[in-house]
Structure formats: structure tokens, C-alpha cells
């Protein structure tokens, strides 16, 4: 499989519930980033976690990184309708550190 694979591919939950999205990657990384993309729009940087960090918080976002399993998770707590978007993880690899490798993304739908 390719670097930066998210699962699930699509997630639909009720407003107020928590949403968890996962990302796996193959090669060693400098950092892993999560981005949000509203339909047909630009990429919004959410959070960056460095390879020597295990967990990071930003508002309602919580990101974990397990470099031994080469995986990361993004948790959005107390979801809102405005959180409806696609979420992508992107890795900056140690080899080729001037580019981000994106996953396929998780399409998150928050139902009111």
C-alpha cells in the first residue's frame, strides 16, 4: 500500500460524537501533519506532530503518533456540522524532506 493510508475512507457520525481517523505510513518520517479540505476547496493545516512526539492537542483535536507501528490517529471531540470535510494525513519523510506525501483521505460527515 502507499505511504499515508487513512482509514476509514468515509465516516459518518452524529453531531456531538467523537470522530477518530487513522493513518498508516511506510517509511521513516520527520513529522506527520493533518490537513482538512472542504469540498473543492484548499487545504487547511490542522496540526503537526514531530517524530519524537507521541501526542499533541489543539483545541478539539488530538493527534497521536506511534512510530513503532508507523501510524497516527486524529481525534475530533464533540464534533460539529462544520467539521464535515475530508481529512488527510501527510508525511514528511526523512528521505526527500522537501515534499509531503499525502494519503487518500477520510471523508467525514457530521449529521445534525
Amino acid at each position: 500500500s502507499q505511504q499515508g493510508e487513512e482509514d476509514p475512507q468515509a465516516l459518518s457520525i452524529q453531531e456531538g460524537e467523537n470522530a477518530t481517523m487513522n493513518c498508516s505510513y511506510k517509511t521513516s518520517i520527520n513529522n506527520l501533519q493533518w490537513y482538512r479540505q472542504n469540498s473543492g476547496r484548499g487545504l487547511v493545516h490542522l496540526i503537526l506532530i514531530r517524530s519524537n512526539e507521541r501526542e499533541k492537542h489543539s483545541g478539539r483535536l488530538r493527534v497521536t503518533l506511534d512510530t513503532s507501528k508507523k501510524s497516527s490517529s486524529l481525534l475530533i471531540t464533540a464534533s460539529r456540522a462544520a467539521d464535515t470535510a475530508s481529512y488527510f494525513c501527510a508525511t514528511e519523510q526523512i528521505q526527500g524532506a522537501q515534499k509531503l506525501v499525502f494519503g487518500q483521505g477520510t471523508r467525514l460527515t457530521i449529521n445534525p
Partner: protein, 112 residues
């Protein structure tokens, strides 16, 4: 907060025509990038640019593509002879270091 800007937001062109996509990166940033996203697919790296030269490019970035920083503020992507498969959203990005990348809103290129 400074942002990366891109023009035009939507470009329609005939197959075989040349197009130039324009970007104004954040002013104190040193690294500049182009990515593209074919509809429904993941974001793909095209090229990175540092110190007035290409520092890395992907297999997608063939001889039909070129980048230029013609002055101190603009960063352009030229496609010499567009093909149908060049239809995509093109994102410009910039960063002060090789992470924490700021993306622009994108230019949607439609090749007819």
C-alpha cells in the same frame, strides 16, 4: 495572518495550449512548492523550489512543466502544452522551513 494566494481560481483552456498558474507565497518563506489533486484523488507533490532552483521534483513533473520565480514575490507553474489529464486542482505552497507548509486555495484547471 499572512496567506498564500493563487490566481486565477479557475482556468479553462483548450488541449495543447500553454497555461501559467500564479502564486504569491508568504513573504518571508524560503521554500516553494506545487502540488496537484485530480478530482477525487489524493494530493500529489509536483516540485519544490529553493534558492532559485528546483530542489526536488516528482515523476509527474516532466518537460511539459516548468516553474519560475520571476521577481521577489511571484512563483509560477507553466504547463507548455496541456493535456486532458492535466485537469486538476493545483495548489501552491510555501514554508519557512521544510515543514509546517502553508497551502494556497488552489487553481482549478480544466482542459477541454
Amino acid at each position: 495572518e499572512p496567506e498564500v494566494t493563487q490566481t486565477p481560481s479557475h482556468q479553462v483552456t483548450q488541449m495543447g495550449q500553454e497555461v501559467i498558474l500564479r502564486c504569491v507565497p508568504i513573504s518571508n518563506h524560503l521554500y516553494f512548492y506545487w502540488y496537484r489533486q485530480i478530482l477525487g484523488q489524493k494530493v500529489e507533490f509536483l516540485v519544490s523550489f529553493y534558492n532559485n532552483e528546483i530542489s526536488e521534483k516528482s515523476e509527474i513533473f516532466d518537460d511539459q512543466f516548468s516553474v519560475e520565480r520571476p521577481d521577489g514575490s511571484n512563483f509560477t507553474l507553466k504547463i507548455r502544452s496541456t493535456k486532458l489529464e492535466d485537469s486538476a486542482m493545483y495548489f501552491c505552497a510555501s514554508s519557512y522551513q521544510t515543514y509546517a507548509t502553508n497551502f494556497g486555495p488552489g487553481t482549478r484547471l480544466t482542459v477541454l
